[in-house]
């Protein structure tokens, strides 16, 4: 859409130097320029601002269309989902799709909802506990081997799951954990490279004096962590919690390979199974899609601050 390539950047360093060198004289120029032409830039700015909003609003409409369609299709009769001509709003509105989906024989979405909550809930608890402890130790405690382990942690951030999942599957199979949530939940209590890295950054930002004061008073390191440091990084714990919950709710591959009994499925896998067997029941399937999505949208609006904070952090990491 915008005609530029991302790679080619000519003369960037020199032009930056020039810009910085001339910054001083430029300040004088701007004041004179602003005085001489008070109206021209404001009109031009207003036009670009309007254009900007026109493009943004078009983009918003495109981005919202799938949501709108998901919701209205979930309220249509099966035969009306692909009616000709297209039906832009559900008529008649069929709320029963949701009631039927929640308790569908063989595909009980209410059960799936509970399974997803249980799964994402435990993974979140495990991740927050393990990553805050490991992140704190990497940031603040001195012990032999720390630098090696931390280098390995950073290296493992770049390791794609494709190279590990087969032996990991075989390992959990040998433990007799297939068909249970154990292979999906237990690893979370052992930490996650991404969030350990993030927690470490947060603990680095805390003043060391607080811990020193407690040490003088004879407090142990464990007490210092739980009583003094942990309460100070509550925002980081919440960022970890909301993203872990979101990503676990999205998780599809793990449940697909480890779970076998349909009653155990989380929402994503349940929805996938429903599509496999009940391909013509589009209204109910879309009700299932809405049920799979809605809890995350609610979570987002409750914890929006922590989502936005977390996104900012993931970019700074790079």
């Amino acid at each position: 859409m915008l005609g530029f390539s991302l790679i080619k950047i000519d003369n960037r360093a020199t032009s930056l130097d020039e810009i910085m060198a001339t910054e001083q004289t430029s300040v004088k120029q701007i004041t004179t320029e602003l005085r001489s032409t008070p109206n021209r830039p404001s009109i031009r700015k207003r036009i670009t601002s309007v254009l900007r909003h026109v493009v943004l609003i078009s983009a918003v409409l495109i981005f919202l269309l799938p949501f709108y369609w998901m919701v209205i299709s979930s309220l249509k009769e099966n035969t009306m989902v692909f009616s000709n001509p297209v039906q832009w709003y559900p008529d008649p509105i069929r709320w029963r799709n949701f009631i039927e989906a929640l308790d569908y024989p063989g595909f009980p979405f209410l059960k799936f909802l509970w399974n997803s909550t249980y799964y994402a809930g435990f993974v979140t608890i495990g991740t927050v506990i393990s990553c805050s402890m490991a992140g704190y130790a990497f940031a603040r405690l001195r012990y032999p081997g720390k630098n090696l382990f931390f280098s390995l942690t950073v290296a493992s951030l770049m390791i794609p799951g494709i190279i590990t999942f087969i032996p990991v599957f075989l390992f959990f199979k040998n433990l007799g954990w297939l068909g249970t949530y154990l292979p999906l939940i237990v690893p979370a209590f052992f930490g996650n490279a991404f969030f350990i890295f993030m927690m470490r950054q947060f603990f680095f930002g805390l003043p060391e004096e607080l811990a020193d004061a407690a040490r003088v008073d004879g407090a142990g390191e464990i007490a210092i962590f739980f009583r003094i440091m942990l309460p100070l990084v509550k925002p980081a714990l919440l960022v970890t919690a909301v993203f872990t919950f979101l990503w676990t709710w999205h998780e599809f591959f793990g449940p697909l390979i480890y779970l076998s009994n349909q009653d155990q499925y989380p929402l994503s896998l349940g929805l996938y199974a429903f599509r496999g067997r009940r391909i013509t029941e589009w209204g109910l399937m879309m009700a299932g899609a809405v049920l799979t999505t809605l809890p995350l949208v609610i979570l987002f609006f409750i914890a929006q601050r922590y989502f936005l904070e977390g996104i900012k952090l993931s970019g700074l990491k790079g």
Binding site: M1, F4, L6, I7, I9, N11, S15, L16, E18, E23, S26, V27, Q29, S49, V60, F63, L65, P66, W69, V81, F82, N84, V86, M133, A134, Y136, A137, F138, L141, R142, Y143, P144, L152, S156, P160, I162, T164, F165, I166, L170, K173, P187, F190, G220, E221, I222, H250, F252, S268, L269, L271, Y272, R275, M285, V290, T292, L296, V297, G315, G318
Partner: protein, 306 residues
């Protein structure tokens, strides 16, 4: 009375205590690092030289899995082609569009928060639900997208039913989720010092020159981050492909991605050795591409030398 104790013996005891707590706090993660990352990498490489059906112990077969991959398996060629097609188009298009959106959003005006929220919302939708929604939107005969195209007099393709259009459909699906990247770019853009841009403007640099010579260098580390993460993700695309095309990659193997092929061999055919060989080769490709990006990044990523 504490002050009477010798501070040195006190310190060494403290140091020992600190080391024990440090080890205790990281021990679970160190176990995980070895049991769930380092050992599995080595085991995948070992298994790739074996024939292993889970029921019997792995049997050493040398390079025969690799011979089968390069010489015999007819699904390899479409899977590699599809994965490259998907990665080479969805990553650059996604980067350019999300950077463009981020530039439009990078202003001090009312309503920015609302735009930001709306662009991020699709990233909340679980991939299975998003893919099923797109199957409805892009339904060939009565889907809303083709109805809109028809309204403008354009012929609508059969999308996920047509081998030529199923991958473009998947790329459009991936673009729906670009809000996450957009917000990462936006955070980077908001860190670009305004004084630099204003100085360039006063020196007569036009919008494009300011973009090329100031904005891009200042956010080049964010571009690198988004590029690398997206390359790693898109080579491993799985959920969307499985929901659309199943393990056969219908229509006509056009949505058969490498990860789907690996899944099929491991969990449908129980050829763990063969799947490991495929996984190892894919890993090598991802690593090579990542290293190339990092090596060339020295030329285009601007690092502050202060």
């Amino acid at each position: 009375m504490a002050s009477i104790r010798n501070p040195w013996s006190n310190l060494s005891r403290r140091r020992r205590h600190e080391a024990w707590v440090g080890l205790l706090f990281t021990l679970p993660w160190i176990i995980s690092l070895f049991a769930l990352t380092i050992y599995p990498i080595l085991d995948t490489i070992y298994l790739s030289f074996t024939d292993y059906s889970i029921l019997e112990a792995p049997k050493w077969v040398g390079l025969s899995n690799y011979q089968e991959i390069f010489l015999k398996d007819a699904s390899i060629q479409p899977a590699v082609y599809n994965s490259l097609y998907y990665a080479l188009l969805s990553v650059p298009i996604g980067l350019v569009l999300s950077l463009g959106l981020a530039l439009l959003l990078n202003m001090r005006a009312a309503g920015i928060g609302v735009y930001r929220t709306i662009f991020y919302l699709p990233s909340l939708v679980p991939p299975v639900a998003a893919t099923i929604t797109f199957l409805v939107l892009f339904e060939p005969r009565a889907g809303v997208i083709n109805s809109i195209l028809k309204f403008f007099g354009l012929p609508g393709p059969a999308w996920f039913s047509d081998p030529a259009w199923s991958k473009p459909g998947m790329i459009i699906l991936s673009l729906w989720g670009l809000g996450y990247m957009t917000l990462i770019f936006l955070a980077g853009l908001q860190d670009v010092p305004r004084s630099l841009l204003e100085a360039a403007e006063i020196d007569g640099a036009n919008v494009w020159q300011r973009f090329w010579h100031v904005t891009i260098p200042m956010i080049s580390n964010v571009i690198l981050f988004n590029l690398v993460m997206n390359v790693i993700w898109s080579f491993q695309v799985f959920t969307q492909a499985l929901v659309i095309g199943g393990t056969n990659g219908t229509p006509l193997e056009s949505t058969l991605m490498v990860m789907v092929l690996i899944y099929r061999n491991a969990f449908r055919y129980f050829k763990m050795g063969y799947a490991s060989a495929l996984a190892f080769l894919t890993f090598i490709v991802i690593m090579i591409v990542t290293v190339i990006i990092f090596r060339t990044s020295d030329a285009w990523v601007f690092t502050d030398k202060d």
